[in-house]
Symmetry: C2
């Protein structure tokens, strides 16, 4: 990786978060070399550094999916119009935002095909072919692919016309089994976000208004970004037997009666990279959780051209590579330039080593999160580096959780809701009667949407924040990406 000196200036040119959070975000994704724009509006290039983050996310999630019994498959990227239309709610939800293929080569197609926005209909068609008996159930499938939704306004990672994701699709003999799967996969997402992305999430159920087109229940994990906006970070849907009925999928049960199976789907996307940026980033750029950082430790030799320094640094690299993802920056730039560069790129630990350190058999480790400098004897690196990476992960989570808690408010009536939404970015907890009208009114007057009905309910008081009627559910509200 070679970069011009001209870039030295660029590194310093990140807009501060305070000044303009949206511009800060764009600066980071471009200058940390995560993406590039293209002439295809709303679609991006994911560059090597951005894609390496996605590969790490994929690897961990894929392992978690396989450990819970799922297999990967691949479905076509096209859906014939007639297939998309089989489930009424589903097509209503997606038809307005799909891309249509109308021609193949020089010929017009007999039936137009949409580029998959999600693949429930394709999985259903396949299930109908392969499921006859209760012995064919369950099927626990997942696919990694890209999908297309023709969004009007787009932002890198957060909302783009094409994005990468995984979509799990499972089918079960009973409703209970399918419901259990739905919750299990929501928990997998939550564990993944908290443990590996160091990002606290609220688990809960979507309101009817916000649920997935065609689902009976949609569950979600919601995270709070640095600017106080919420980000839906993963969803898991329970379909009941609605799709099975629409597609005529039946199986013969143990008593040889025909029955409809029950389905789920669940997905998360490259949006998680946006979530990481906006959860942990700072005015110096990216801050990456160690579990998904392409490089966990970057070695920057000091006085590199003095005899023995580069060699010793390479020797250290070879030895630490055995237990962490490490790299070395031997480019012809000043150490200061390199420090700024790797801070910008969010590398969790920097390892500095110069002539004096070598004399003393030590080096300096610098944490990206706290910028703390720690002198470590070379012989102790093998215990110290993993320790520090763990400590960084813990600190990232704790800092994000504390901020999230600090930015979570309670509103007891409409005036309070409007005032908080207006003045204090963050989550707002409030009771809700369950009526769509109140949900719509909160959007209209306070500009907030329901994020979720959290599993962990709290007793705030008994009245709907909007209409004042009796309310049983506490809901998280907020402005969202």
């Amino acid at each position: 990786m070679v970069i011009d000196m001209a870039n030295e200036k660029l590194v310093k040119e990140i807009t501060s978060m305070e000044e303009d959070f949206a511009r800060w975000y764009t600066d980071v994704v471009i200058k940390a070399e995560l993406i590039d724009y293209t002439s295809v509006r709303g679609c991006m290039v994911i560059r090597p550094y951005g894609y390496a983050i996605w590969e790490n996310i994929q690897h961990i999630l894929d392992t978690m999916f396989k450990e819970t019994g799922h297999s990967n498959v691949y479905m076509p990227m096209f859906i014939p119009e007639s297939l998309l239309q089989k489930e009424k709610d589903h097509v209503e939800g997606f038809a307005p935002e799909v891309a249509w293929v109308t021609h193949g080569g020089h010929e017009e197609l007999e039936e137009k095909l949409c580029v998959r926005p999600t693949s429930e209909t394709l999985f259903c068609e396949h299930y109908k072919n392969i499921i006859q008996s209760h012995r064919d159930l369950p099927k626990l499938y997942n696919q990694w692919c890209s999908v297309v939704r023709w969004e009007k306004t787009t932002r890198p990672f957060l909302r783009s016309r094409e994005f990468l994701w995984q979509e799990g699709h499972t089918i079960h003999a009973t409703a209970e089994e399918a419901e259990k799967e739905t919750i299990q996969m929501l928990n997998v997402y939550a564990d993944f976000c908290e443990k590996y992305l160091c990002m606290p999430v609220v688990k809960g159920k979507k309101t009817d208004k916000e649920r997935f087109a065609g689902a009976e229940d949609t569950y979600t994990i919601e995270a709070l970004m640095h600017d106080g906006k919420a980000l839906q970070s993963g969803t898991s849907h329970y379909f009941g037997d609605g799709f099975a009925k629409a597609f005529g999928i039946q199986y013969s049960d143990k008593s040889n009666n025909l029955a409809y199976p029950h389905q789920t789907s669940w997905g998360c996307t490259t949006r998680l990279i946006g979530a990481v940026i906006m959860t942990h980033g700072d005015d110096n750029g990216l801050v990456l959780p160690p579990a998904i950082a392409p490089v966990q430790v970057m070695i920057v030799p000091i006085a590199m051209h003095k005899e023995g320094v580069a060699d010793k640094a390479k020797e250290v690299l070879a030895s630490i590579k055995k237990y962490c993802r490490a790299d070395i920056d031997l480019r012809d730039q000043t150490p200061g330039w390199k420090f700024a560069e790797h801070e910008m790129k969010g590398v969790p630990l920097r390892l500095e080593i110069g002539p004096k350190d070598i004399e003393n058999g030590q080096c300096v480790l610098v944490r990206r999160d706290t910028r703390e400098k720690i002198f470590v004897p070379l012989a102790q690196l093998e215990t110290k580096i993993p320790e520090l990476l763990d400590s960084i992960a813990k600190n990232l989570f704790d800092t994000a959780a504390a901020r999230r808690d600090r930015m979570t408010y309670v509103a007891k009536n409409l005036d309070e809701m409007v005032k908080i939404a207006d003045e204090k970015p963050g989550f707002i907890k409030a009771m809700w009667c369950g009526d769509r009208e109140c949900e719509d009114k909160l959007k209209e007057t306070a500009g907030v949407t329901s994020r979720c009905i959290p599993f962990e309910q709290e007793e705030l008081d008994g009245k709907c924040v909007c209409c004042g009627k009796p309310a049983k559910k506490m809901v998280y509200w907020g402005k969202a990406y």
Copy 2:
């Protein structure tokens, strides 16, 4: 995985290769549960067993790409018409077979977008953004994705409208470097095919007629299938600076002069799965090379319901899982049914264990390739299983190489060429003068196409097989998938 007894009959219903090779192939891909058909013509579902083979192929190749310095990236799946048109030969080659997106949501697009058939144009657009100086070179990129080519006739894995592949795209300061890369990646493909797929290949250069649209040189690896037809299994292209000129990509060299960089691309696809099927398969179904087999050892307990058998079999599973991919079949079916099932699926080794074996502290290993039965003490499994897997790989390669050699003929004139092409399926080696007219005439009269000009040239005689004029190149000809 649960399967009806009804399938017992199906397992036995594979058409024999001799009777109808094409039907044998279709039977295998369906009955080994590699794919399912869909209502999207020419597109298939890759089922868990098929996809697991692809994941193993991906994993090995991805490691080889990274070891040779390549990074993964992701480009948009759409290409605006104007971008596709920038390189004249390229658009002429691909425009007739692309799918066009003309509408997004309910609106007609201002400019239609094709679904990528290959991504040279997108990479060029990106290179133009990120390459200014010689210090920005080389860029060694790869992407794993699906591409679309609107084929008229399709066959699972071999030719489908959508297929999965990887496409490497690199850009270099000099022609020499780019040419070296092109050959390096061809060698990576050849090594992969021979070492992991146990499939011998001929390495060579395509004739001008057969080269990739927009390339200066196309290199290929060609394999011979069981039925004597050739299969192009991977290609590597040298572009010179043609794309750079068409897209205006320039860099300032060390003397600060502007220069055009040189490019390559190289790809292989899910077609490799078809190649494996048609290279190693037999009348009992699939035969999988151990390196890519989803399950390398399948344990089938005998007299499973006798006390202690299932438990012992599970214990063996737990212990052999440490050094191979293993599974156990505990379904309520006869051992005979299970033997046929796992033979059909090409599992390299079957491990049988029954009450008597347990008494003797042994088990039976059965090779899929030779069907040889080997009694092995349980304590020796850890050395014997890896040994046998290696031996199977070697035998698969040797068998395929011997068949390929047996089915390779020499033709010295047009009559011989026509006669061999008519009577003896296989490769035909023959001299060629280099004229397109002779190449066309061989297609017309003998029905063969040039497969490649092999790196390993042989002196057959000095005259073109077609026109009899002086010829310098020995070429492999054949009928191809």
